[in-house]
Amino acid sequence: MTREQRRNFFKGMAFLTPWLVGFAVFTAIPIGLSFYYSFCDFALTAPRRAPLWIGLDNYRQLIHDALFWKSLGNTLYYAAMALPAGMLVSLGLALILNANVRGQTVYRAIIFLPSLIPAIASAMLWLWMFNARLGLLNYLLGWIGLPGVNWLGEQWAMPSLALMSLWGVGNTVIIYLAGLQDVPRELLEAAEIDGAGPLRRLVSVTLPILTPVIFFNLIMAIIGTFSILTVPYIMTQGGPNNATYFYTFFNYDQAFKFLHMGYASAIAWIQLAITLVLTGTAFWSAKKWVHYG
């Protein structure tokens, strides 16, 4: 290494060090510690009360915890509804908003606007929309002669939350719109000359070119649906009868309400494992349906 290179290296390191220190202190070390704590009885009050090594007890306990399975089942059920619905609606909206019509930017702004509203404000707003007596949704149903639904009751609470998740698709729509700008016009024109109609052009040209963006949004959606907490926490507090008790909610309760930090760490590591399996499966399947270049 020349003197100049060494000097550049140290300069680079000097700029990098604050980030490296921050990453180590606030991310890497806590992640490592949480893995260790997942094998311990730990309640945050060390060194007064040091972590006690209990081996696999936390993981063993989890297997027998009915709430663990309930919350996991709820999260998967929610993901099964919210994930495809969110992907389809956002892609559909992006395709509509990509059409060259008058007032296009206004429509785009309208679709994007809800995603700027804080989650708490949205939740309060939707609480009224879902109100069984005074809510807008039941009012609209009544208008077309349908009976009202108890949207936040045990039967409907989960579909209602999935429906509400569509309210914030604005961000995903913007990413799709950016992707749609990359679809080469000449390819679409060539397909049109070859006699392809709008649907054929969408299926055979636009969507294949858009697959990397769809894949990116899918990964983000998997992570997002498995981390859902704020909205159900405000709207239903996990009820009724734990019908909307999500995995992250279960983890939050164990860590911060019941103070079982070791147990909560085990829950978090299982969540990471599940997310890795799902994203890993998505990456594995991507070879078959995602087209780069």
């Binding site: 945050l44 009050t45 009360r49 006690l52 306990q61 045990e154 009868n241 103070l259």
Partner: protein
């Protein structure tokens, strides 16, 4: 141009330095020089926080000035989590204002300091306190907290609706001029008030247990205890608790599960003008004395039936000015009277607090007779102390405060069981209440399941504690 970068870096460094140097002193800025600053974190926000600030200011002007102590009050949400984080980081506040259910939980993990000696030195003993609160401040034989404001639960009912339904009540053999005195009577009153619209929706409910806050504690009114200190075992499946859950389920059977759920989800929040009791949708409920403040703020007409509240002292009986009444919630056990549940806000000293003695000076001040009466008058709550002055009872914003005071002093007064896993038991029993009410689960199945799960959890806690003691890791 080559000086631009160094100048920018220097400016940023100066700004960072200023923040580092001055930022940490912000809290002490109002304290007179030479005073010990006691950091006091409290969960209250809004009017209740402002009222505690008045007490803090009083202290700083009087006892604090004499003893060179300055209390710095900080109101915040999620106080339990923030206290624990700060304690773990070694920079806890000197006082934390948490909930009663956290005393045993925090004490068990060594997050708070015992205060037996300090309390004794200040003359705060069992003789000074009401037993229900004094006992609940202890865990494993040590005093870990003192009360800031207590809240005893009683029956609150809408006298106007009682009169509107007087004919129906009399026809059912009930007296519209008084509250029910037994659970059986209570159920008959509630049934008279229940009404549905032609669509089958509940217009008004006499009582709605799952809408209330005290589902896990209902067992107390049926002669239960939830925990047996003698055997150190939970008793969630005792006949009393089972009876309580059967009673809860009866309401959903009577009103219809779906209708009840729809009714429950269409109601407004407790602290909103749509509170079901305030709008006459709910005729009877279990609540604390603080309701007087909420009613005065959200629906003042309910407390001004004859004249403005400020002139009610002219009336021979000021309760006549109130559309709502208060009575002990009836017990299901024949002969058992004045059964109550007593919750409270607790003041604790986190482990590692830098000014433990000075912190206790303030806690003792809050528990001084005159100060406790002032704070609890402002908060519209009863007293944690054995004695209540005539003035306190006479000028309290809740004209029924004497009832709450008697209930708290009753031998049948209950509080949160002093077990570290109570927050979990609370969730489990709340879930069980919803299961029997919403899902129609058999009460026996629900309470047995709760007992099984929670006892296993409590056994696990003991197993780990034994292991800790064996290894000397406490």
């Amino acid at each position: 141009m080559k000086f631009v970068k160094p100048v920018i870096f220097a400016m940023l460094a100066v700004v960072a330095g200023v923040f580092l140097i001055l930022g940490s002193r912000q809290s002490a800025s109002k304290a007179p020089p030479g005073f010990t600053v006691v950091e006091y974190w409290e969960k209250w926000v809004g009017p209740e926080a402002a009222q505690m600030q008045i007490i803090v200011d009083d202290f700083n002007k009087t006892v604090g000035r004499q003893k060179k102590i300055y209390v710095h009050f900080m109101s915040m949400t999620d106080i339990d989590q923030k206290t624990l984080m700060a304690t773990a980081a070694g920079v806890p506040p000197d006082i934390t204002g948490a909930w009663d259910n956290q005393i045993a939980q925090f004490a068990a993990i060594g997050a708070v300091e015992p205060m037996d000696d300090l309390a004794a030195a200040h003359g705060i003993t069992a003789d000074y306190y009401l037993p229900v609160f004094w006992n609940a401040c202890h865990y494993n034989g040590h005093l870990y907290a003192l009360v800031s404001t207590p809240g005893t639960v009683a029956l609150i009912y809408n006298k106007r609706i009682f009169q509107q339904c007087a004919g129906q009540l009399r026809a059912a053999g009930l007296d519209p001029d008084r509250a029910p005195r037994t659970i059986d009577e209570f159920d008959r009153y509630a049934a008279v008030f229940d009404s549905k619209n032609p669509d089958g929706q509940i217009d008004r409910a006499g009582f709605c247990p799952v809408q209330g806050w005290y589902v896990p504690q209902e067992s107390f009114w049926f002669g239960g205890n939830l925990f047996d200190p003698a055997s150190d075992r939970l008793t969630l499946d005792s006949p009393a608790t089972l009876h309580a859950f059967q009673w809860i389920q009866n309401f959903s059977k009577q009103l219809g599960q779906q209708s009840l759920m729809e009714f429950q989800f269409s109601l407004g929040n407790f602290d909103s003008p749509q509170n079901p009791f305030l709008v006459g949708k709910l005729v009877m409920q279990q609540q604390g004395p603080w309701m007087a403040n909420y009613i005065a703020h959200l629906q003042p007409s309910l407390s001004e039936a004859l004249c403005p509240k400020s002139e009610e002292w002219k009336l021979p009986d000021r309760t006549a000015n109130y559309v709502w009444g208060v009575a002990p919630f009836p017990s299901a056990v024949p002969g058992q009277q004045d059964v109550s549940y007593n919750s409270f806000d607790a003041l604790m000293i986190p482990t590692g607090a830098r000014h433990k003695n000075e912190a206790f000076e303030f806690i003792a001040y809050v528990n001084r007779q005159d100060v406790a009466e002032k704070l609890n008058t402002m908060h519209s709550k009863n007293l944690q102390l054995r004695h209540a002055s005539e003035a306190f009872l006479k000028h309290h914003p809740n004209p029924y405060i004497a009832i709450y005071q008697e209930l708290a002093a009753s031998p049948n007064a209950h509080s949160v069981p002093a077990i570290p896993i109570w927050t979990e038991v609370f969730k489990e029993l709340t879930d069980a209440g919803q299961a029997v009410s919403v899902e129609g689960v058999e009460p026996l199945v629900a309470v047995r399941q709760a007992q099984q799960r929670m006892q296993a959890q409590y056994d696990r806690f003991h197993r780990i504690e034994t292991e800790r003691q064996r290894l000397g890791i406490n």
